[in-house]
Amino acid sequence: MSNTAENLRKEPLLRVVKRAELPTGKIILLRLLAVLLSLIAGGIFIACVGQNPFVIYMTIISGACRSVMAFQGTIKLMIPLLITSLGVTLAFKMKFWNIGAEGQIIFGATCATFFALFFSGLNHVLLILIMFLSGFIGGGLWGLIPAVFKVKYNTNETLFTLMLNYIALHIVSYLRDGPWMDPGSQGFPKIARFDKNASLDKLFGIQFGWLIALILVVLVFLYLKYAKQGYEISVVGESQDTARYAGMNVKKIVLRTMFLSGGICGLAGMIQATGSDITLTTSVAGGVGFTAIIIAWLAQLNPFAILLVSFLFSVLEKGSSVVQSNFGLSTDCADVLQGIILFFILGCEFFIRYRFLFREGNHGTDTVKKEKEG
């Protein structure tokens, strides 16, 4: 007995304990609660800067969906987010920490831009096809580099993919300031706007990248769920030793998956450059590669959930921009608001998996708590 008491004293005041699996209903309830709490906390912030929170929230939603044109704008923001989230999902499923989507987007866009700038005279369908392939392969190669080093020398893929982001970005800066500079721009460093022939066509008033994104949702879902390769990815993700024991070629799977992951991100870059920006700029990725990581995890790597979450993110972003102009609220305020909402929702994921234990509690209360939760 005294032994237990001593143990209790040694315990820290607060301890984090992994929870038993919660029932689905309870998880959903917790998440809704988190959303509610984030809205309240965000509301307090809005009230502090002298605005009515309810009006601001309504404006965010109406600003994103109030008209056909607004909705088109929201979807346009969603396209790169959605595709990139799908791309990083493949790598994450394998527990390969690809945080280099930003660079893969940029390099994919750069490869596609090469054809947009110098082969703009080709047949339209052929040119678009070539640009799709080059975007995919470009992004794929950019993703393959860290994978090769990982399987050969066991380098840290988190750092490696992150560093490649900056290299890709500076390649664009170099091309923009030098070889690819718009000759008509009078010294202003920019790449020329693409020829109409080299830009994506529109479908229902939005570049048809949205259709590709939707198709990719289904393809990635089928690939992960039903394809043999998808199964291999999850086995490697759970345990490389198990995969090896089962006779899988782990190296090959890692290389293949990272090529696909980077390729899909590169596709996002190509679609952004040729469909939305109609040029290549240093903002072609614009943080999408990082936001996509959050989206993929919030959606628990489920492609259909990714579709929903990336839509909600786009609504928030598009709506915030309307709030800025309608209420003169600085764009920084919108960023703070987004941060608050993310903080609560990501925090909630923590509480779904873990809970706190206080030192005061003896074993008895511990079990009581567990019972309550059950």
Partner: protein, 393 residues
């Protein structure tokens, strides 16, 4: 590998399917555009190329590269111009939509900002930064009933997309006189946003250098380029580097007042830009090269109301009141006031246009001819040489 190839093939098929499937797209677009143009039914007058818009129906969208709240530089000055226009014409607050912090290298952000303005009913768009140009050009095509007016670039379409800028070089010439009279080291520093190829910046440097040369043939202008219109840190560093090179007057063509603050900290002098920067660095600023954009914004909106919008490019100067210099501070050398006034008279009354006659460049060649002056096209488009006393550092 085989499977991977087949995956690629499937992808290619999907892609080609999509490419074929989007033929209906233009139809959807046209419907939308005609929908919008139906709203305006003003009669087209003889002088204008666009239908008149009644004062109460005017809605102005302003695309700013930063936030007017920065309080001193480019965006602040443009927004003062918008406020001045609003007052002059008598528009309601609800008739102005501002989009702040629109990244001028993010084409999608620019397009979204402009579309949001149009969606809220804006029929006039003022896009103030160079990088907004290509997007304006494309959207002017898509929304023929909306008037796009773009500052500082070079593109226009003669109807609903024009370009506006001004003879800021006239004011820079005057500022050069103040700087040339003040300098003791005979080294003037100049923080430039863009390099030699950019006519706007290079023309400004030349005018400043020529103004200084006219009163002090011994002085040189040291130029440092930041390669960005808005780079607080880079502008600070460039100004400090110029001070370290021995410059004792720091002039600038960039957005923040940082070069002036650096000058003040180092106990040297400076020439501000955009607004009167003596509020930022009272111990250093001799004068500032200033824009009064309300002159253009009022002119443009009034001409739209009157139905006389011509779609022509605007290139105003000192005579219109678009450009000027701030009142000279007490820091200026004796006799500066007289010299500046004399030059101002030459420009406004005697037809002196700064780039007159034969001009010697810093690579030993010459530009221009006796008895003539450079055309506006040469000033805005092909000024890619430096005046003889300019040194790039």
């Amino acid at each position: 590998m085989k499977k991977f190839l087949s995956l690629l093939a499937v992808l290619a098929m999907v892609v080609s399917l999509c490419a074929c499937g989007n033929n209906q797209a233009p139809a959807a677009d046209t419907v939308q555009s005609t929908d919008d143009s139906g709203a305006e039914t003003g009669a087209q007058t003889a002088a204008g190329v666009m239908p008149a818009i009644a004062k109460e129906d005017i809605k102005v969208g302003v695309i700013h590269i930063t936030d007017p709240a920065e309080g001193s530089g480019y965006t602040y000055t443009h927004d003062l111009g918008i406020q001045g226009m609003q007052k002059n014409i008598g528009l309601e607050d609800s008739q102005i939509v501002r989009k702040n912090n629109v990244n001028d290298s993010d084409a999608t952000a620019i397009e979204n900002a402009i579309r949001e303005c149009i969606e809220e009913g804006c029929n006039v768009i003022f896009a103030t930064s160079w990088g907004f140009m290509d997007t304006c050009e494309a959207l002017a095509d898509e929304f023929p009933e909306v008037i796009f007016s773009h500052g500082t670039g070079y593109k226009s379409n003669g109807t609903n997309f024009n370009n506006y800028f001004g003879r800021i070089y006239q004011a820079r010439y005057l500022a050069g006189i103040a700087a040339g009279l003040k300098t003791e080291s005979n080294k003037l520093g100049y923080v430039a946003a863009m390099g030699q190829d950019n006519s706007e910046v290079t023309g400004g440097i030349n005018a400043f250098a020529m103004g200084a040369y006219s009163v002090n043939p011994d002085c040189e202008v040291y130029v440092k380029v930041t390669n960005s219109w808005f780079d607080p840190e880079g502008e600070t560093q460039a100004a400090q580097a110029l001070v370290d090179l021995g410059c004792d007057v720091i002039a600038q063509h960039c957005d923040t007042p940082n070069p002036q603050t650096v000058a003040e900290q180092n106990g040297v002098w400076g020439v501000g830009y955009n607004s009167d920067m003596s509020k930022d660095a009272p111990g250093a600023v001799l004068t500032s090269v200033m824009w009064d954009w309300s002159v253009y914004y009022t002119f443009a909106v009034q001409s739209i109301i009157d139905g006389t919008w011509s779609g022509e490019n605007y290139f105003g100067g000192m005579n219109e009141g678009l450009v000027t210099i701030a009142p000279l501070s007490d820091l200026c050398a004796d006799g500066t006031q007289e010299a500046v006034e004399a030059a101002r008279n030459q420009i406004t009354k005697e037809g002196f246009n700064v780039f007159d006659g034969v001009i010697e460049t810093n690579d030993g060649s010459t530009v221009g001819a006796d008895g003539s002056t450079l055309s506006d096209g040469e000033i805005t488009g092909s000024m890619n040489w430096y005046f003889k006393n300019v040194v790039v550092k």
